[in-house]
Symmetry: C2
Subunit: 250 residues, 2 copies
DNA sequence: ACCTTAAAGGTATAAAATACCTAAAACAAA
DNA sequence: TTTGTTTTAGGTATTTTATACCTTTAAGGT
């Protein structure tokens, strides 16, 4: 456990892929901020902090959300994604990234804090062969689907790309989210603690790169119904019968 | 990325769950060693080393295998499992564990190295509600299936248990291995670069807690055949038609 | 020649997923 | 009260996939 040989200890950072949902435009969002410090000054990247001696990585991920967005979350709204340790991933000090996925049940107002020139929600925009992150005039190609992690670090990366290996981290996150859709769709937490099946189908459609109409209401209940449980009714949200409200089981 | 605030940096360790297979007894094995140093002196635990400044965590996991077993592996025989960061997981210095799963295609002879009083292969022994690790007179209860990670650190742990949170790590590894059986059964690498479908079914039976006869040969080909590709024939290994040899696709 | 074991194919049934449909419920607005 | 809208909640028919079970052949051993 504790090998007493002297090694220079790396800096341990926590990096979050924070997901939210825009109920108006029906877009899945990821939070990026524009760095105002070296390294990667001016570049857009994922929110990051440094692990403190008295907190677990999970706690640090929650603290990071609190600091950047003022939102207090509990641990079932985060999931460990992976640890990125490539030696050259950040210039200067050796830095490890312990990464987490965070599902925000609200879409809070954004105020650039310390270390950030700007902060924005980027819409996850699935293309046929990749995902893009789009916010108005700004756009990042998450990563082409078929590029392996090993290849990623070999590539030249331009100034119009995300800081460090954050494109790889986002790609990994989306992969994980898609894998889980059929047995543990925790991404649905971005819809709030409870949600209608309509909304759930919209999110599935987006991530599975198909249109909402391609996901049959009746069949969706049959195949995914066991993942949800009912909590009550919604207030009439317009015309038509109000949709029933569900939450994730377990 | 680099927050310049002064924090005490944790020790970053690499911990491996090394799997192998005994072709005679048809047992899935995990390597444990008995520690000869504090902390947890005398306790059995997973092989661990400290991350060096000039290597990635993946490289360190491979180095650890080389140091403990003298076997040189390449990166497609390891997979990141997760990072364990609970503040109290190790007494003394704050220590993070970056954990990997390693699939050994051979079962090398064991020599206790530095820091170890003994080293042994433990058979993964599935029970109805848990898995045990068994080596002759020694036995450890991996962990009861229904104990969550959060609960794990709350519990009192006796001296007859694995060091630190290694029981939790092993449990997590077995969970992962089982999840992947139907789409990416990398655990089959313990059978070597190539293997017969008979052997594959034996390993599936073990992990799915059923008998080999319950897994129909013909059906197994139909449902899992797409995961394998043929490489040739084996030499006659006894009586009967020699089994064809396959390897994992992709 | 005979035994053994895996390969390689088959069929019949069961279970799951999908396409498509109907009727009722619950509201808003005319 | 009637009409329109949208979801609920159920249905059936078809297709696909998984499972149980069986037969024949291949390729070795003795």
């Amino acid at each position: 456990m504790v090998s007493e040989q002297i090694v220079e200890r790396p800096l341990v950072s926590i990096t979050n892929v924070i997901f939210s949902f825009d109920t108006v435009t029906k877009q899945l969002l990821v939070l990026l901020l524009q760095r105002s410090q070296a390294p990667f000054m001016g570049a857009w990247g994922l929110p990051t902090t440094t692990l403190r001696s008295n907190e677990s990585a999970d706690a640090a991920a929650l603290r990071l959300v609190k600091e950047k967005l003022g939102v207090h979350l509990t641990s079932n709204q985060t999931e460990q994604l992976g640890t990125f340790t490539n030696v050259g991933r950040v210039p200067g000090q050796r830095t490890l990234a312990l990464t987490y996925m965070v599902y925000l049940p609200v879409k809070p107002a954004l105020i650039p804090g310390a270390g950030a020139r700007a902060v924005r929600w980027f819409a996850v925009t699935p293309r046929t062969d990749r995902d893009d992150l789009v916010a108005g005039d700004l756009s990042f190609t998450g990563l082409t689907d078929d590029v392996s992690a090993a290849d990623f670090y070999q590539r030249e990366r331009g100034t119009t790309q995300l800081a460090a290996d954050h494109a790889l981290i986002v790609k990994t996150a989306l992969q994980r989210v898609r894998n889980r859709l059929n047995y543990a769709p925790t991404i649905l937490r971005v819809l709030g603690v409870s949600f209608t099946l309509k909304r759930a189908r919209e999110l599935y459609a987006l991530l599975e790169r198909r249109s909402v109409s391609q996901i049959d209401n009746s069949n969706f209940r049959k195949t995914h119904g066991h993942l949800f449980e009912q909590v009550g009714f919604v207030r009439g949200n317009g015309s038509g019968r109000p949709a029933r409200v569900y939450r994730l089981k377990d």
